[in-house]
């Protein structure tokens, strides 16, 4: 039986600081490592070396970058809408810790198991688009505005296949608690029985995190930096942090829903969990250097004419098969 953090620590007053420390520490180290990994993967795929100077294999490079960002001046352009401009990075950052607390890391490591954890994850990851639009509109910059509009359109296109592919899993598991969904996969991970839903989910998740080939909101060759063009120093750092953390979140969700979460032989649960999560993250980086960026109307048509009908059909077939077995 899974114990949540409150039971382990005896009181919520200890459990909450403990959870915040653990998650924040993990996310900070993780962001540093993923940026390093991204640069290394990118470099190797282009037959370059990537960072090598600082630390072993250049591992400390992003730490140096972070210190540099910290010591940079924060510039607030004159023509921005101050409230929106200042609040946007914080809005983007706020839900991340709470969302991360929903994932079961191993059988005995559950921060808090909610009956509706799945809906909470989807709802609060959807909040990111509010922060992005606040940033884009508040900046009063044409590039930012276009980036924000594109980001919202992308969300509109990919939220629906995402939800529909998740529903197929919920029908099979008959629960929305992430811990119980993992428990249901003790014999066979859902990717085996739901391959189509898994693929649709992962495509939609890539779009949700604004990563290539769906990085049109921040397409650097067209829009400079997209919605964060006007942000400098640590405010830009927060956007970056939020982006890499949302990669972790969608990959963790994909792991829980389709790859059996922490289930696996021999190695302890959380090791399996992180192996799977980092494998998916590597896959995302691989995508980035494999597929060219889509044009906007191609993307919308791809989502609505291919992914949504497929996800609907998959849902219906799942419902029928679950009934027959």
């Amino acid at each position: 039986m899974a114990r949540n953090f409150t039971e382990i620590f005896g009181s919520v007053w200890f459990a909450i600081p403990a959870a915040v420390t653990v998650i924040m520490g993990f996310l900070a180290i993780n962001a540093l490592m993923i940026v390093w990994m991204e640069r290394k993967v990118a470099a190797r795929m282009q037959r370059r070396m990537g960072p090598t100077e600082r630390g072993v294999f250049g591992l400390l490079q992003t730490t140096y970058d972070m210190i540099k960002l910290m010591s940079k001046e924060l510039i607030t352009p004159r023509h921005v809408s101050r409230k929106l401009y200042l609040v946007a990075p914080v809005v983007l950052f706020t839900p991340i810790i709470a969302i991360c607390s929903l994932f079961p890391l191993s059988e005995n490591w559950v921060f808090h198991d909610y009956d509706i954890a799945l809906v909470l994850v989807l709802a609060f990851s959807g909040m990111a688009v509010v922060g992005i639009f606040a940033a884009g509109w508040g900046s009063n910059n044409k590039y930012s505005l276009l980036g924000a509009v594109r980001s919202i359109l992308q969300n509109i296109a990919y939220e629906v296949p995402l939800i529909l592919s998740v529903l197929a899993v919920v029908i099979m598991a008959r629960t929305m608690s992430l811990h119980e969904i993992v428990m249901e996969q003790s014999t066979i991970p859902y990717i085996v029985v739901q391959p189509l839903a898994a693929i649709i989910f992962f495509i939609a998740a890539t779009a949700e995190t604004n990563r290539a080939p769906f990085d049109i909101p921040e397409a650097e060759s067209e829009l400079v930096g997209g919605f964060h063009t006007e942000y400098s120093g640590m405010r830009f750092g927060l956007f970056f942090f939020a982006e890499y953390s949302s990669m972790i979140i969608v990959c963790a969700l994909a792991t829980v829903l389709f790859l059996g979460g922490w289930q696996g032989p021999i190695l302890p649960g959380f090791v399996w969990f992180f192996i799977k999560v980092y494998f998916l993250i590597f896959l995302m980086m691989w995508f980035r250097w494999t597929f060219p960026r889509l044009r906007f109307d191609q993307l919308l048509r791809f989502a609505w004419l291919l992914l949504v009908p497929l996800a609907l059909a998959n849902l219906l077939v799942t419902a029928i098969i679950v009934k027959l077995i």
Binding site: V12, M70, N140, R174, L238, D297
Partner: protein, 138 residues
């Protein structure tokens, strides 16, 4: 904390997120240099003089997709509670029939939009004055 019920934990972490998000923005105020040039606070536009404001009226070419999205996402959310109790013993075939009907009705806006040519070529929206007869397919 108990007075917030089950979600106090989640809420507390959200609150922690707000404060931790403010932290990195406040630290540079202490350690970062502070210098202002003539153009430092100007809006960035690739080095050119900024032309006008970004807050103008513009063509939201894909607004029809937003309408379909509304129709879809709300309907899809209704399916979550259904999916949880799906295939309980109490319903024999009723749940399958209900879900099938629901999905069929739910996908009808998509078919309608497709027939109306929303997904047609070019910049997405091709519904113009001439198409008001609802005849034109593509």
């Amino acid at each position: 904390m108990e007075m917030f019920g089950e979600y106090g934990f989640f809420g507390a972490l959200l609150l922690a997120g707000v404060f931790l998000g403010l932290g990195p923005v406040l630290v540079p105020l202490l350690i970062a240099p502070h210098s202002r040039g003539e153009k430092t606070e100007e809006t960035y536009e690739c080095g050119m003089e900024t032309i006008g404001s970004a807050w103008i009226r513009f063509d939201l070419a894909f607004y029809l997709f937003a309408l379909i999205f509304l129709a879809f996402s709300v309907a899809a959310l209704y399916l979550f509670p259904v999916a949880v109790v799906y295939n309980s013993d109490a319903y024999i075939w009723r749940d399958l029939i209900a879900v099938t009907l629901f999905l069929l009705i739910m996908s009808s806006p998509l078919v309608y939009a497709w027939r109306m040519g929303v997904f047609g070529g070019g910049r997405g929206v091709v519904i113009t004055q001439e198409d008001d007869t609802h005849e034109k397919a593509d």
